[in-house]
Symmetry: C2
Subunit: 337 residues, 2 copies
């Protein structure tokens, strides 16, 4: 059986396609009786409207894009859950794109959005992304940045309290007796990385602790390379405390400690930015800065849909900071929360 179109419905009911369309869209121009007849036949023939025809004409796709570096990180996985929950409720479709931490790929993805394929975009940028490629996108259509935002771009942003979280993390290590603290950063570019670094440095300053010359290690996206990088950094700096600012780096710390036979927390206290539900079962259980990933995704999507609904909503001025929480476990010694 061919695909059922509006024209087929029209012919069967001896009505015009316009009437069918309006009936299906609950236009007040259509009598209740006719509407019911249309709806009945549509149900009977299992009519499903062609989204491409509709999108073409209406210049709206009922589709949003989610652009993230990867999904294999429980933060992004949870964020997608939050986004999808809102999108499903609003009847929107979600296109997912992975930039694989590659700003070139990201640019290619974003360029395609000029086609009108999506009505709005939720994005968490790569570690390499600069403002340049984002300006146009933000000018063109509703965009909400979440987690990995781009400071220089004026746009809606959902973040966590990155500086404060790092500050708390550092304090926590200091309270646990650490004096040679290192920070593992994912990027020199990312504003959230820089904010975390700032919070870290501020805490050291406030406690009159010196910033080690190599206190901050900038990691790459290659886990083998990172492993080597960390090993070297650990040995050279003889840290007694470390803050891993991403989930992958948290795991990497455990690996390197195992390789170096450093005991956590005796030789090295560890605190990691992570959303792993298994953090409490790690050996030793990992003290985490846990971001409200699901809520952040939900908040970002909610903001976007609000902008899509009323186009005079001042989306670009929206900023929301959702606090993260420090959960003290056995990879650190301090008792405070």
């Amino acid at each position: 059986m061919e695909n059922v179109t509006i024209r087929m419905l029209a012919e069967r009911l001896q009505l015009s396609t316009a009437t069918i369309s309006k009936a299906l869209n609950n236009s007040h121009e259509i009598s209740e009786e006719t509407r019911q007849r249309v709806l009945a036949l549509a149900a009977e023939l299992n009519y499903v409207p062609n989204p491409y025809a509709s999108s073409l004409r209406k210049k709206a796709s009922n589709t949003i894009a989610v652009v993230i570096p990867e999904v294999a990180d429980s933060f992004f996985a949870e964020a997608i859950n939050g986004i999808e929950a809102v999108a499903q409720e609003k009847g929107y479709h979600v296109l997912i794109y992975l930039s694989h931490e590659n700003s070139q790929k990201e640019q290619t993805i974003l360029k395609d959005f000029q086609s009108g394929r999506v009505d709005g975009v939720l994005i968490s940028v790569t570690t390499e992304t600069t403002a340049a490629g984002l300006e146009q996108l933000v000018r063109d259509k509703p965009v909400v940045f979440f987690d990995r935002v781009c400071e220089e771009v004026k746009a809606a942003k959902i973040t966590t309290d990155d500086a404060a979280a790092a500050y708390r993390a550092t304090n926590h290590l200091i309270a646990g007796g650490c004096r040679r603290i290192g920070l593992l950063s994912a990027s020199r570019q990312l504003s959230i990385s820089n904010k975390r670094a700032e919070g870290f440095q501020q805490a050291l300053l406030d406690h009159q602790l010196p910033l080690l010359p190599n206190a901050i290690t900038y990691c790459t996206n290659d886990s083998a390379a990172n492993h080597q990088l960390l090993k070297t950094a650990f040995l050279e700096n003889n840290y007694d405390g470390i803050i891993a600012t991403t989930e992958k780096l948290s795991t990497a710390v455990y690996e390197v400690c195992e390789a170096l036979q450093w005991r956590i927390p005796d030789d090295l206290q560890v605190i990691g930015f992570s959303n792993l539900s298994t953090a409490r079962f790690l050996h030793p259980s990992l003290t985490t800065i846990t971001q409200p990933a699901f809520e952040m995704g939900k908040a970002a999507a909610t903001l976007l849909f609000r902008a899509l609904k009323s186009n005079n909503f001042p989306l670009q001025q929206q900023q929301e900071v959702i606090p993260s929480s420090l959960i003290a476990r056995n990879s650190t010694l301090a008792k405070d929360k």
Copy 2:
């Protein structure tokens, strides 16, 4: 600036829209000189074709759908990575839909696909799904099931060696001295759950061990309820070994053991189906059946794209079983692999 269309290019170059379209699609009907002029102007004006116009006419969307129960499970997260990698390479777009383990929602999602929104579907069904709702989908368009397949439906399937994996897991526990082994199952319906149960029972049989009356616990999708369910089952059956057939259930076992103050592996040996990269750092490190999630996603997508390329490809006959591996760690006692 308005969106650049093919007509604008045509007017500027004093050519017909047909010529522009053909030039952009590398038709042999167009002279090299003209093609270059078109390409140059398109690049200059930053022309991006409207996908909806093109899809409407060509009746092909260059888009596939991925329907999964959720992403907050490292198996699905990794699988998406695999799928997206292939899709990006082939120039396809990926719509993601979460069924939230709800077959009603799943049906709603699948029904929409009759609209022609997507050219093909990759799906891992819910714990409740029955064959009924899937027949039509498979008839309508290319579909590849992965991991959670539906046995009764004749369609392409990518799975792991579920029965064999459970058989190995059970053997492993027996080798470690377990005699009262339980299995935590995610569903009564799911074929992969049933296969895992079969492998489990076969191994018991082969070792002349009795199947405990409540050897198999069927869990729900509610983690609080599961917690209670497991607690009761553990206490009633006094297991000395347990196989958790999903990642979430693996974590749940750790939680329940903590609550009951059962020590792993002394009081209970645990083996879990899981793709967590942190399994080795759990306390104690978790013996896992690890599925090649990325590869499965990749294989499923590859199969789908092959079918999309040549429509005489016998997709429905394709079956691929990608072996999983048992990684022995400290949550079990056996030394074998």
